[in-house]
C-alpha cells in the first residue's frame, strides 16, 4: 500500500469546534486513480489536504510509502512535498513572470537538479501534456486549460509518488475539463501514476479506478 490512513480526525477549533473528519480509515494501492467525492462540506478537500501534507490532522495516522507523516518536522515536510508529492489545484496560480518551461522546471531547480537535466525533463513533461509547442509562453498567453496543463506538468516533473488534485477542472470549460481528466487517466495508465483527486463531477467517475464518497466527515461509500 502506498497510503495508509488510520483513525484520521480533523477538528477545526472555534467557539464551537467543527469536526470535519471523523475517524477515517482507508488504504490506497500504488498506481490507483482514486476520486474523493461528496457534497460541499463533506470533508473531501480537508481529507486531501491532510494526505498531501498541506494541513495537520487533529489525530490519527497517515503513512505514505512507509513513512509516518506525523513524525516529520516542518523542514522534512517541505522536502517530502518536494520529492514525493505533486499537486494540482483548482486555481493553477502560475507565476505571471515565468514561461511554461520555467514554471515546470522550478521544482527541479529547487531540488538542485543540474540545469541541462531540468530543462530536458521539463520540456519532455510539457510535451507529454500537449504543450510541446508552447514552452516559452507566459501564463497570459495561454488559455485556462493550457495553464492547468502547465500546472499538471509542474506537479509531475519530479516524478512524485502521488499526485493530488483538488477539483482541477472546476475553473475550466467542458472541453478543457475533459482534456485534463483524460490526461490524468492517460498518465495513470501509461506511467502508473497514483492519483487522488477531489471532484464534484459525477461524469468523472468513469475515468477513475475507485471512488470514496464522503458525507459529514465519514466514508459513506467506497467502490
Amino acid at each position: 500500500m502506498i497510503i495508509e490512513v488510520k483513525n484520521l480526525k480533523k477538528t477545526y477549533e472555534a467557539l464551537v469546534p467543527v469536526k470535519v473528519l471523523k475517524n477515517i480509515n482507508f488504504e490506497v494501492k500504488k498506481g490507483e486513480f482514486l476520486a474523493l467525492m461528496g457534497r460541499s462540506g463533506s470533508g473531501k478537500s480537508t481529507l486531501l489536504h491532510q494526505l498531501g501534507l498541506l494541513d495537520t490532522p487533529s489525530s490519527g495516522k497517515i503513512i505514505i510509502d512507509g513513512i509516518d507523516l506525523m513524525s516529520l518536522s516542518e523542514k522534512q515536510k517541505s522536502q517530502f512535498r518536494l520529492k514525493k508529492l505533486g499537486y494540482v489545484f483548482q486555481s493553477y496560480a502560475l507565476l505571471p513572470e515565468l514561461t511554461a518551461l520555467e514554471s515546470v522546471f522550478l521544482p527541479l531547480m529547487l531540488d538542485n537538479i543540474p540545469k541541462k537535466e531540468y530543462l530536458k525533463k521539463a520540456a519532455k513533461m510539457l510535451k507529454k501534456v500537449g504543450l510541446g509547442k508552447k514552452l516559452n509562453h507566459l501564463p497570459q498567453e495561454l488559455s485556462g486549460g493550457e495553464q492547468q496543463r502547465v500546472a499538471i506538468a509542474r506537479a509531475l516533473v519530479n516524478d512524485p509518488l502521488i499526485l493530488f488534485a483538488d477539483e482541477p477542472t472546476a475553473n475550466l470549460d467542458s472541453e478543457a475539463s475533459l482534456t485534463v481528466i483524460k490526461l490524468f487517466r492517460e498518465l495513470n495508465k501509461e506511467i502508473g501514476q497514483t492519483i487522488i483527486m477531489v471532484t464534484h463531477e459525477p461524469d468523472d467517475e468513469q475515468y477513475v479506478d475507485r471512488v470514496i464518497w464522503l458525507k459529514d466527515g465519514i466514508i459513506k461509500k467506497d467502490y
Binding site: 518536494l82 507565476l95 521544482p107
Partner: protein, 403 residues
Amino acid sequence: MNLKTSLFLAFHSIKRGNKGTLFMTILIMTLAYVNLVFVSSIFGGIVQAINNEAINNQYSNIVITPAVNNIYIKKNHAEQRLSSLPGVQAVATHYVNQAIIKYDKNRDGNDIQKGRWTIKSINPKQEEKVTDIYKSMVAGSYLKATDRNQIILGRDISGAYGSDLEYLSLGVKVGDQVDVYFSNGVKRTYTVKGIFKTKNTQVNQSAFITKGEMESVLRVYNRSSEILVKTKNISSEGMVIREIRRSGFKTEDIKKWSALMGFTSGASKSFDMISIILGAIGTIVAGITIFIIIFVSVVNKRKQIGILKAIGMREGTIVAYFVIQALFYGLVGVLLGISLILFVVRPLFISNPLDFPVGWVSLKITFNIIKISNISLLSAALIGGFFPAYKGAKRSILNSIWG
C-alpha cells in the same frame, strides 16, 4: 534556503514585471538617495563656506596673540622668523586698535555719523599672501605700503554695497574724509581710499590702514597685536604650531582658526542634527515605498506563494525572492543616485555655487556621506522588503491558496 531559485525568480520578476512600476520604484529610490546625499552635502557646504571665509579673510590658518597681560607680541622680525619655519607659506602681522570713526559730511559739525570699530594695520604686500581682502575691493583701491593718510573700510562701516548694518554705517564714499579717534587718544584724519566687501560680517566691520601709519599713531615699532600664519596645507596646522612654539613663541597664545570658530562649530552640530533628521525621514519614506511595493506584490502573489510552498519551496527561499527584488531597487537607486550626484548635481554646483550670506556654497560630498547614504538606503530596502515577504511566506499553505 535555495538562493539560486530566489535569484532566478527575482530576476524574472524584475525582467518581466510591470515596467511602469519598476521605473517608478527606481525613480523614488534614486531621488531618496539624492536627497540623502544632497541634504548632508549642502549643510557641509555651508559650514565649509563659512570656514573658507574665516580662513581666507579673517584668521588664515593660525592666529598668534600676545601672552597674558601683554598688549603686543614682542618678537623682533617675527614675520621673517615665522616665514622660515617648515610648513609655513606666509605670515602677516597686524596692530589691532578699537577706534571711533567719525564722518562729518559737510565738515560743519552738523549731521555727524560715528561708530566704534576695529582698525587693523597691514603690510599690504604681505597681507596679499595671507588674506583675500585685496581681492574684495568694491570701490576705490587697496592700500600701498607707502600710504599714510589713507584708510580702507569694510562695507558695514562705509554703508551701501548691500551692507547688513546700514543703519550703523557712516554713509561715506571713496574720497570722503573721516576722523579716527584711536584708543590712545590720538586723532587722525584719513581719506577713504577704498571699500571692501567679504562674506564675513566681522571683516566687513573692520578698517585697515598701513603698518607704518599705525606705528606712527601708537608710537611702537616692530611689534604686533596679532600674527596670522598661513600654512602650506590645512592638515599641517598642528605641526606648524609645534614649530612656532619651538622657535621661541613660548608664552604667546597660539590657536588654529577652527578654535576661534565658536559660531560655526555650533552651527555645524545643528546642521548635522537637521541632516540626520531629514536623512532619517528620507530613508523611512524610501523604506515605506519598498514596503508597499513588496507588500502589493506579495498580496497579488498570495496563491502562487501557497503553491510554491506546496511544491516544496522553503519559506527562506520565498523571503529571499522578494528581498532580492527590494535590494535590487535599492542598489539601482544607489548607483543612479551616485551618478546623478557626481556627474550632474556636483558639477552644476561647482560651476554655479549658491550665493549665501556666509559665502559661496557648493556641495561638500565626502566618502562618509556616500557610505552612510548607501547603508541607509540599502537597509531601508532590506527592511522594507523583508517584513511583507516574511509575513507572506509565513502564511499557511491553505490560507495562502484559499484565503
